[in-house]
Symmetry: C2
Subunit: 315 residues, 2 copies
């Protein structure tokens, strides 16, 4: 198939919520050189693959992952139908709204709450539950709807890339089915361009019709070295742009930027305690240490949220 | 995001390699009614998902799957570097070109040859090997390059659907990485819209750079009830069009056509022994029995290759 090599240009200001400076310029320059026919760095449209982490990269993740807030709210709401949940310390913590009781069990605590809230139902039922929750749930600190706490500068970047022939994908440690419910409306990214952690699914008859049922067994963890593997399995190509915000994205940025030809790695550094949250190497959520140390010498763009963004959430 | 509801129309003849008749009409009518704004069967562009089996649906699969021909050719070529392969009856059969010796071991025979030929290398090396093979290998009966043995009427259908706002995906029992090498050139389907069976992959350092290495462990079998599961994992939506040619596609067509709203199931029946191959319920490759029995009452379009197609392969 002939490669579409057309340039998409527009008179609108580019990335309006990004402040002028070397980081904004690095992004604009990269897009310019990879999409200009005749440029030595020109990349055919079919190879313009851009991958984005979600939590802390496209939307907020403090004081803890929003998907975990969903899981806890679901367990609280459904607890009267599941008296057996009181026998589990982790689920009892969820019912009592004791987030530390869950997090103190580490990854296993999170997985147990996720299994209780994400499985034993059809994929359609799960999607509807998430939709219903998003319509009413509010963030405990900002009072905003969770899907309003997306980063306007990143939404602009996604849109700008697509206007320049890039395909944009989410590559998240979070749950693939949770993200797919709202990623298209929030980011313009359709369900089939969402990659994430997943549980197993089965094809079964439910109420006389065949459906996909979510079962309580881990299928894939899309984090750290899992991210390049997930990219391989879903996309089958090495991206040329990768953006993340934690050391869980290190391998994804490494995989992306070690490819030949022009490559762009972006790390979002949470430096804005006034408009969002400030955290990095000491935070259990979105821990970023190695990326900050190695990133600059690897040519990665380290975005300083407080300095580089004129706006955080959509107005 | 607002739904793109524009209709794509053109003055070119539609599906020129399809003979006039009720099957061609059923396909054209379906596309017309689902893409006409104001039609009670109108489907928003974002929901226009169409899935296609590959072997025997988009290209030929006789006298045995072309991917198996690749695997055997690879084992023959590499045998001098792997004296240990002679200790395996299956691999010895491959080295001797004894296809029946492989098939007599059933699925395990095929898997052993696939593991020997598809693993222990990076994803990039594998892709290059497949590319090199396709450039020179010839089908034993037709003498054609394998990737010339694609079905012109199906290539037209894929293109017609995309021109009408559908996203086209491959959902194959064959190997996902094998397909991705050539599906874009053959069908206009990019790597990230290919779903298939897969082996596990690891993120590792190879020659000083990080790469995806294909490892000898099954990851997913995309066949029968695996097809709806694979669709769920990769696409995250129930398709509205599904096409296949064997009972391995039964669940995919069932899953697709049991959804609410307009749905189209298509089965390609191999009836043309002169221009292609004629086979169905007695063939070990592409076995089709239940689909032929149930399909008509389920409203599935049963394509009669000899009658419905004016041309099989591209000119
Ligand atoms: Ca993150
Ligand atoms: Ca088939």
């Amino acid at each position: 198939a002939p490669e579409a090599q057309k340039e998409v240009k527009s008179d609108e200001p580019k990335l309006p919520s990004w402040n002028e400076g070397e980081n904004k310029n690095a992004i604009l320059d990269f897009v310019e050189k990879t999409t200009t026919v005749g440029s030595s760095d020109f990349v055919p449209e079919k190879d313009r693959i851009a991958v984005f982490d979600n939590d802390g990269c496209l939307w907020s993740e403090q004081p803890f992952y929003f998907q975990l807030a969903y899981a806890i709210d679901y367990v609280k709401k459904e607890a009267p139908n599941h008296p057996e949940w009181n026998d589990s310390p982790v689920l009892k913590s969820a019912i009592d709204g004791d987030i530390n009781g869950i997090l103190s069990k580490g990854e296993h605590g999170i997985i147990e709450v996720v299994m209780a809230s994400h499985t034993g139902m059809t994929a359609e039922e799960f999607s509807q539950n998430v939709k219903d929750w998003l319509a009413t749930a509010k963030h405990p600190e900002t009072g905003m709807a969770y899907n309003q706490m997306i980063y306007q500068p990143m939404v602009e970047l996604l849109s700008y890339l697509r206007a320049n022939g890039f395909k944009t994908f989410i590559v998240s440690g979070g749950g693939i089915d949770f993200l797919r419910v709202w990623a298209e409306e929030a980011y313009g990214i359709p369900p089939y361009q969402v990659i994430g952690s997943s549980i197993k699914a089965q094809y079964e008859e439910v109420d006389g019709k065949k459906a996909i049922v979510k079962t309580p067994e881990l299928n894939f963890i899309d984090d750290k070295e899992g991210k390049p593997v997930g990219i391989h399995q879903h996309i089958g190509m090495r991206p040329i742009i990768a953006a993340g915000n934690s050391d869980g994205d290190y391998q994804m940025l490494e995989y992306t930027t070690q490819g030949s030809g022009p490559r762009l790695g972006i790390l979002i550094h949470h430096t804005d305690s006034e408009r969002e949250f400030a955290y990095d190497s000491l935070s259990p959520i979105g821990n970023l240490k190695k990326g900050l140390i190695d990133g600059p010498s690897l040519g990665w763009v380290i975005v300083d949220m407080a300095k580089d963004w004129s706006q955080v959430y959509p107005k």
